[in-house]
């Protein structure tokens, strides 16, 4: 097996018309230097904006910025095995699930392919239709199972509904997507760092705030001491803290240098190369409200092993 870090995979789920394809194109356009491989299984033409397409190589489209797009038909795992084999030319994999796919099941399939790791399950919902869809005689349970699987729910097309309807939806969603953070968008415009994870370079360069990230409260925390990394990761994923994403580096007494990643309630800790900068650092992103600096500071201090 080759010695490359596992490639993060983001699964984008949601029913037809929710805006998955728009989101994919938006991320390709604003990839922030990431070489993204998009895997789609919808039938028909590949759903990529034509101006992004540079060429075709067999059944793989080559796209601007070193990105690619391929269709895996009905055989997701075979498609992922192919992508894993070309991991050295890819930084991140995006799976655009079909309208009836259960994104949680797709996420489970990732463990069948060595060299891939789940980053997050993002489920797009159409602000106008989601509640009707969720009670549809045929599709209702499929829709609610998609929501149950989500780490992040993006409510799309919020400009098409009234403020009251929006408030009602914000109230309705947590009950149906209990493990997800919910964010709102129009035309699927969401900060790439929210969907794909925070760029490592960003962690130590807190001045970088692109125009997409402005809707979010972003704060960086530095600390000199070692921490219990698992405990810190779990604490940052606690709904009470209210973070959408967090990423950072820390020294753990047992594991040494680690990367901590949080998306909604999903969190993982993985080994990281030793850093020149001896202090730990975590970037946290919250949506729609100010970030609770004190709570996070207290948490970091509390994770210092006694």
């Amino acid at each position: 097996m080759r010695d490359v870090a596992p490639r993060p995979v983001t699964v984008i789920g949601g029913y037809l018309g929710a805006g998955k394809t728009t989101l994919v194109n938006h991320l390709l356009r604003h990839n922030g230097g990431r070489r993204i491989a998009v895997a789609v299984n919808e039938f028909g033409a590949l759903p990529i904006d034509s101006d992004l397409i540079e060429g075709a190589d067999g059944n793989v489209l080559t796209l601007a910025g070193g990105c690619i797009c391929c269709s895996f038909g009905s055989d997701l795992v075979a498609g992922l095995i192919d992508l894993a084999a070309r991991a050295d030319t890819i930084d991140h994999i995006l799976i655009e699930a079909s309208g009836v796919a259960l994104p949680g099941a797709i996420a489970q399939s990732l463990s069948l392919v060595a060299g891939l790791t789940l980053d997050a399950i993002v489920v797009m919902v159409d602000a106008e239709t989601i509640r009707a869809r969720a009670t549809d005689f045929y599709m209702g349970d499929t829709i609610t199972r998609q929501l149950t699987d989500a780490d992040l729910v993006v409510i799309n097309k919020t400009d098409l509904i009234s403020t009251e309807a929006r408030a009602a939806l914000q109230h309705w969603l947590p009950a149906h997507a209990p493990s997800a953070r919910v964010i709102a968008a129009n035309h699927a415009v969401v900060a790439p760092d929210i969907v794909l994870g925070i760029d490592s370079a960003f962690v130590h360069a807190t001045t970088k705030v692109d125009h997409f990230t402005r809707a979010f409260a972003t704060e960086s925390f530095e600390f000199e001491h070692i921490v219990d990394a698992d405990r810190l990761a779990a604490g940052l994923a606690d709904p009470a803290i209210g973070l959408v994403r967090a990423k950072g580096f820390a020294r753990d007494p047992l594991l040494g240098w680690v990367t901590i990643q949080v998306v909604g309630q999903r969190h993982h800790v993985t080994a990281a190369p030793t850093l020149a900068d001896p202090s730990g650092c975590i970037v946290c992103i919250a949506h729609g409200r100010r970030l609770d600096r004190t709570a996070i500071g207290t948490l970091i201090a509390a994770c210092r092993p006694s």
């Binding site: 033409a45 038909g73 009836v100 463990s111 060595a114 045929y138």
Partner: protein, 546 residues
């Protein structure tokens, strides 16, 4: 222009105006008439062929739902529980225990000697071993050097040995998938459940997905098997029909000795509904006498024993979630509307009753937009439909192709685990279909269960499970109905009833040649009727020499 008159012990015609005859006259591969020698002599100079004088002729049997891939499977080691005949006529005895399976693979492995490559088995069914899980350790007894894989009868599970896991990069901790049970050591046990879990292993054990759609030798083997089972027309229900495959089929179909008519359906997969309908329409032009194209197949849900069929309330008997959709209602609607507009026939795979209901609802709406008098859209499997759904099928002009073989192979499982007693007794409601007037076919779905319409007819007549339970006495049908269903009934669902399915003037000279009379042998012995071979388009094919 020469006329042959065949004399037979008895000819069962399926033509109600003269249900039996002693002679049938054939010219140019078609039937001049069935009747007495005196009647047929009026057609002019002829040769009297008496080779069937002690045989029974009936219309060539029509298998309305099989897969030509059955012909490919026999390259692998048969590991099924029940005895089964291969295309060469060899009867493989059932492997009745895990040890017997291992022993059989061991023999095959010895034969392979030092040649490299995988050892592949098929048709394993651990249901009959009290659901004892077969593990990589069992298969390691055969070889730790050679990758080994066995496909289960259902086609949904695969067992592999340690070497195969190693080659696929799966012999590692950290695999976290419901289809991959782990041992105490945290490593996969070698049972891979569901298409996703099987995919990484397939190429290493000779079970690549692409390979399982038929190639030329597979098609030829399938055709030989058809002759052994009295089949002269068979539907190949889900093919992507790429250009090279179509060209191969056209070529083989024109050979003077190819013995079966194959109706190959283009499955909706990897292309949009519009592209698929257009492809089917274009393929229609490539049809010849023996190779027929132009029908579309749509898979709506999964399988009952895999708990992926979409069930209506109250769902699965064991509480499993209500199954999976393989198509969105939007795509289904688009496909049905385009097909009605284009005059392309559609067969839909629905196992669960909710999937069936979706097709009924969708077709009802589509027919309001695009009325069609004779579309014959057919529900395939449709195992759990209730009486109300059969009434809707009738009203919408639909046909149904039910799957009574399930009762024999998995009926006990359905009763005990999947759908529970009441629905297990109602499954594949052949009697209700006939009473309601829904055009009915019955099928084997070979290779899922063995090809053999007379066996399928036996299943519909007796509804007996492997353990001997009669599952739904009320839904049993009579022998005459069953025989009509495996000839004219299946032909109707393929829009071929004008050409085949009965022995009467103008139709193709397609006969099943039998040693025993299925109308007098008794319903409980229908599966034991001995088959001599077939006549296909006036050409004689003897099973013993095929």
């Amino acid at each position: 222009m020469s006329i042959t008159i065949y004399e037979a012990g008895k000819i069962i015609t399926m033509n109600p105006s003269r249900p039996t005859a002693t002679h049938v006259a054939v010219r140019d591969g078609r039937i001049l008439g069935a009747g007495s020698l005196t009647e047929l002599t009026g057609w002019g100079a002829h040769t009297l062929d008496r080779r069937f004088a002690d045989k029974i002729l009936m219309p060539g049997l029509v298998e309305g739902h099989s897969h030509v891939a059955e012909g490919v499977q026999w390259r692998f080691v048969y590991c099924g529980f029940h005895d089964r005949t291969d295309p060469d006529g060899r009867v493989w005895s059932g492997a009745r225990s895990v040890d017997a399976v291992v022993q059989r693979l061991d023999e095959a492995n010895q034969k392979l000697g030092t040649t490299s490559g995988p050892l592949t088995g098929w048709a394993l069914d651990p249901i009959y071993f009290d659901n004892r899980r077969v593990t990589r350790h069992d298969l390691d007894r055969v070889s730790t050097e050679r990758p080994i894989g066995i496909m289960h009868a259902s086609g949904h599970i695969m067992n592999v040995n340690t070497k195969a896991l190693e080659m696929a990069g799966m012999l590692r901790p950290g695999v976290n998938h419901p289809g991959v049970p782990l041992g105490d050591d945290g490593l996969p046990l070698g049972e891979m459940k569901g298409p996703d879990a099987m995919t990484p292993l397939g190429p290493h054990v000779g079970l690549d997905r692409g390979l399982l759609s038929a190639d030329e030798p597979g098609l030829r083997a399938f055709a030989r098997l058809c002759v052994r089972k009295g089949v002269t027309t068979a539907a190949d229900l889900a093919n992507l029909l790429p250009k090279p495959a179509v060209e191969m089929m056209e070529r083989v179909g024109r050979e003077p000795t190819f013995p079966v008519r194959v109706v190959s359906l283009r499955v909706l997969r990897g292309a949009s509904p519009r592209e698929t309908i257009e492809h089917a329409l274009a393929l229609k032009q490539h049809s010849n006498e023996l190779m027929r194209f132009g029908i579309v197949k749509i898979v709506v849900d999964g399988s009952i024993q895999g708990f992926s069929a979409r069930l209506r309330w109250p769902g699965y008997y064991n509480g499993a979630p209500p199954g999976l959709w393989y198509v969105t209602p939007e795509h289904l609607r688009e496909a049905l509307e385009l097909a009605l507009q284009a005059g392309v026939q559609v067969h839909t795979h629905t196992n669960g009753d909710e999937a069936t209901e979706l097709v009924l609802d969708t077709l009802e709406a589509a027919l309001k937009k695009h009325p069609s008098n004779d579309h014959r859209f057919t529900l395939q499997h449709c195992q759990l439909a209730n009486a109300a759904q059969f009434r809707r099928m009738k009203n919408l002009g639909m046909c149904v192709n039910l799957f009574p073989n399930h009762h024999f192979y998995w009926g006990d499982e359905h009763y005990r685990l999947t759908v529970g007693p009441e629905r297990a007794e109602r499954m594949n409601a052949c009697a209700t279909a006939l009473a309601t007037g829904v055009p009915l076919a019955i099928h084997s779905d070979a290779p899922v269960t063995p090809l053999g319409p007379l066996f399928t007819a036996w299943c519909a007549v007796n509804r007996q499970t492997a353990s001997g339970r009669i599952l739904g006495e009320h839904e049993r049908i009579g022998v005459a109905d069953a025989l009509r269903t495996i000839t004219l009934g299946a032909a109707y669902t393929l829009k071929l009833d004008g050409e085949v399915g009965s022995i009467e003037v103008g139709k193709r000279a397609d006969f099943a040649v039998l040693e025993d009379d299925p109308t007098t042998i008794g319903g409980t012995h229908l599966k034991d009727v001995r088959i001599w071979g077939t006549v296909q388009g006036g050409r004689v094919f003897e099973a013993a020499t095929i």
